[in-house]
């Protein structure tokens, strides 16, 4: 075959694929929605169960001190904020106009990813701080009934757990999310530079 006469158009059009019948394609819309729904529901369920448990403690033990109540509210609030931020990312993507030009779409995606990057770090910090503070305040009342020795043990164990979360789990979680996001951002930026040439 003569190199100068390669007919790219003809070769290109030579490729075809089976087409799914319309009704089967539309069935996928539902499967997609369901799988996303399940993911969000599971997180919400986990948070709800914990919240329910905490409320149950409140109701059945009638805490007297304001610190206990404040602790419970802070703990619940921290989970609510975290859960809310988790569920926020999906609608944000959904709202984005998918029929922009590639250049505009890339710019939007990048802006969104950078926002996510900020949100994830900040929110995770807020979550950990509020949760630790909530637990610390909550424990004042129950430990008040204990001997000094057991109170120190209780605070000690909780303190160690909080330090472990703060110094190990939190940075690890942030690093994991950031690596993934940085990777995506890097690739998007790379594509963007392809458009900047010339």
């Amino acid at each position: 075959m003569d190199n100068n006469t390669i007919n790219f158009n003809e070769l290109w059009q030579g490729r075809t694929a089976n087409q799914l019948p319309t009704d089967e394609l539309l069935k996928k819309v539902n499967t997609f929605k369901t799988s996303n729904y399940i993911k969000i529901s599971l997180t919400t369920l986990a948070f709800s169960l914990t919240s329910f448990f905490i409320c149950w403690i409140w109701i059945s033990y009638h805490p007297q001190l304001v610190t206990t109540k404040l602790g419970i509210v802070l703990t619940l609030l921290s989970m609510a904020i975290y859960g809310f931020s988790l569920n926020q990312q999906y609608p944000l993507l959904k709202k984005m106009d998918k029929a922009n030009s590639n250049a505009e779409h890339l710019a939007n995606l990048l802006a969104l990813k950078k926002k996510q990057q900020f949100l994830q770090t900040t929110l995770l910090n807020v979550y950990f701080m509020m949760l630790s503070l909530g637990i610390g305040l909550y424990m004042i009342e129950p430990t008040g009934h204990m001997t000094l020795f057991w109170a120190i043990i209780a605070y000690g164990i909780t303190g160690v757990w909080i330090l472990f979360s703060w110094l190990y789990l939190r940075p690890r979680q942030i690093r994991k999310q950031q690596t993934k996001l940085n990777d995506i951002i890097g690739k998007f930026e790379n594509i963007q530079t392809q458009l900047n040439e010339e």
Binding site: M1, N3, N4, I6, F8, N9, L11, W12, Q13, G14, R15, T16, A17, N18, Q19, L20, T22, E24, L25, L26, K28, V29, T31, F32, S35, L93, K98, A99, N100, S101, N102, A103, E104, H105, L106, L109, I184, K187, F188, I191, Q194, L195, E198
Partner: protein, 156 residues
Amino acid sequence: MVFEEVYKIYWQKIFRLCMGYTNDYELAQDMAQETFIIVWQQLPKFRNEANVGTWIYKIATNNCLRQIENQNRFPKAELPVNLAEEKQATSEPQIKLLYTYISELPETDRIIISLELENIKQAEIAAIVGLSEANIRVKIHRIKEKLTQKFRQNGQ
């Protein structure tokens, strides 16, 4: 504008675009299906019927670009069995080569050349990608040169 009609006219075109982008038959089929699901969802809101092609290509190419964050993809197992198994392995090695070479280009070049080979006007390609027409013209020229060179190196 009826969805069935759009789906019928554009299916092969969108599949080829995705195929040029990934050179993976099953992935390309999934991506093309994702595109048409978005089209189906947004078609009721779409007014500018004269430009339905540009609109669909924008959705499709943006979807290609978003494959980087592939956590939004359908689980693989959901493809109906008859479709998954029936791989239309093309008998023509030249066709295979072309798709392989295109999928090796930088992302935006893959999109540009796919649209060009689908006989889309350069002004329209410029609108889809978001570059000037002159820029698109230069790029198409270079990409075609690159592809010809690759074919030549392969001794075709």
